[in-house]
Symmetry: C2
Subunit: 313 residues, 2 copies
């Protein structure tokens, strides 16, 4: 994407006086993300990441920022929001809500191997345990309610077979909710580009702006559908096994969770098929230099329906 | 010192399950500090520093830990306490209060140059600004009340001239209190070995276990008496100037603070003369492989009395 809200050197220099992070050394826009304007920022103190929120509901922001702060102080390598001199995480810059967070080392991987999935599974387990004591509540903003809303919005753009697939999967999911699965704060968007690695170890989990309360298992399903893809969007057995095995070594999963796994993989595929359809057919002004192809997740969904994947760590 | 409380591999491995920092990779005792048992700890997640509190009053510990957490989330490079799975910083290990904190990179300097004093002054200024919003209160535990207590305890070990110096300085300080100086949380022990540098930049401030509420200027005086020593314990003009100049570029000092500077340098010298006398003449069981020489700070005190140092940034 392009950055929506430009920030000048003088504006940022002045704004940073609200913090105790030293003086501005340099900054540059970050060409990723479709919901926010992001900048890398270097000060005399260190390296930071600045986000201006372009469209997230203001009432949701404290949940995300407090969750990141909570996880960071439990030792999870996620961006830690920096408090300003008035002790607030949320500031404003050029008329937009804004937050300064620590910048983590490492790079994301395009083609993770099984050992990286082991790292990811262990971290996800630790993150879920650490998040248990987080007191705030925000329902997963891309959960079933949003699926139904988005389906209404996009259905007229779909051909008959895709409309039928969508309606059928929504009905299936509505008939297979799992109110008794362990729930808590989930990242809910932990794709490969939201994890950083350094020397083979996971060094950061970033972008918590789709987080919310949902089944913990949902986080694993989102990861599996991205990190563990094999030929023709199947689940690679070695990487999937590594992910699940490392996870359950940290947080043992319940029999009900094992049973729910094939349904959860479908739910995770449905959610991203819907959001990509939505972004593709209903682009918002100024957004999306690169719209992701919705077909990718339709194909994943179809495959998870035809060949239900069993829990196999 | 020796470590007072030994910790076994099995004990630490088990104890770390209370946190979300991964599994133990290795650990080793740290041969510094005279108040606590310290260990470097490496887990699959990262590098940590473990402290078992041997003699600090339990009721003071929350102040230190919350202050470190507060400063860390304001971007000050200090050890950040890690919260356990029950969301507490303070734990227990082998019957002692214990805390796990992040381990910062860098090394301390024996012979800092003016540019290092510039780094220190700027960081001290930022730390004082960030600490303004810290709500807890603990009177500097090594303040005037403690001076009088310690003086009573050590006076019988001193010769007549030192007894007279001590009484005279205590009387002088009692007559020169500055209730109107800006006050707030101070580190109060920021000697060279409590600051870490990496590639010329200050990368960490450690050991907050003498922190308390006092005049902010006192922190600068403690630093000057250690970082800026020239021949025969005089204040080196270049390093002292660099320290004060960098500090007041971040937090402008008041006219009253400039006026109080020579008195504050004497107060800082008195405090460490007294604590070294106390540790030297009244060693506690098991402590002090290396007792610091009390004479060092007596000489600093005498010199600051004979040649009052003016504020000269």
């Amino acid at each position: 994407m392009a950055v929506y809200t430009p920030v000048s050197d003088a504006e940022l220099r002045d704004w940073l006086r609200r913090y105790s992070v030293g003086a501005l050394v340099g900054f540059e826009p970050v060409a990723t993300g479709i919901e926010n304007s992001n900048y890398f920022v270097v000060t005399t103190q260190g390296r930071y990441f600045l986000t201006l929120f372009e469209r997230l509901p203001a009432e949701e922001l404290p949940f995300y920022l407090e969750l990141m702060a909570h996880l960071a102080r439990h030792g999870i390598p996620c961006p830690a929001p920096i408090a300003d001199l008035s002790d607030h995480y949320l500031q404003a810059l050029n008329g937009k809500p804004a937050v300064l967070v620590t910048r983590l080392p490492g790079r994301s991987l395009e083609a993770p191997a099984a050992e990286h999935c082991t790292e990811l599974g262990a971290l996800l387990g630790r993150m879920h345990l650490a998040a248990r004591s987080f007191p705030a509540y925000l329902e997963n903003p891309r959960g079933p309610k949003w699926w139904r809303f988005a389906a209404q919005q996009v259905t007229s753009f779909l051909d008959a077979s895709r409309q039928e697939l969508l309606q059928d999967e929504l009905a299936f999911q509505a008939g297979h909710r799992f109110p008794d699965l362990p729930r808590g704060p989930v990242h809910a968007d932990l794709f490969r580009d939201n994890a950083l690695f350094e020397e083979g170890r996971i060094s950061g989990v970033i972008d918590f702006y789709f987080a919310g309360i949902d089944c913990l298992l949902y986080d694993l399903a989102v990861c599996a559908n991205d990190w563990c893809l094999g030929p023709r969007r199947s689940l690679d057995a070695a990487r999937t096994g590594a992910l699940l095995c490392a996870y359950q070594a940290v947080r043992p999963v319940t029999p009900l969770e094992r049973e729910a796994w094939p349904v959860m993989l479908r739910a995770a595929a449905l959610r991203f098929w819907l959001s990509r359809l939505y972004d593709y057919h209903l682009p918002r002004p100024g957004m999306l230099v690169h719209a992701h192809d919705p077909e990718h997740f339709r194909e994943i969904l179809e495959l998870r329906r035809r060949h239900p994947a069993l829990w196999a760590p």
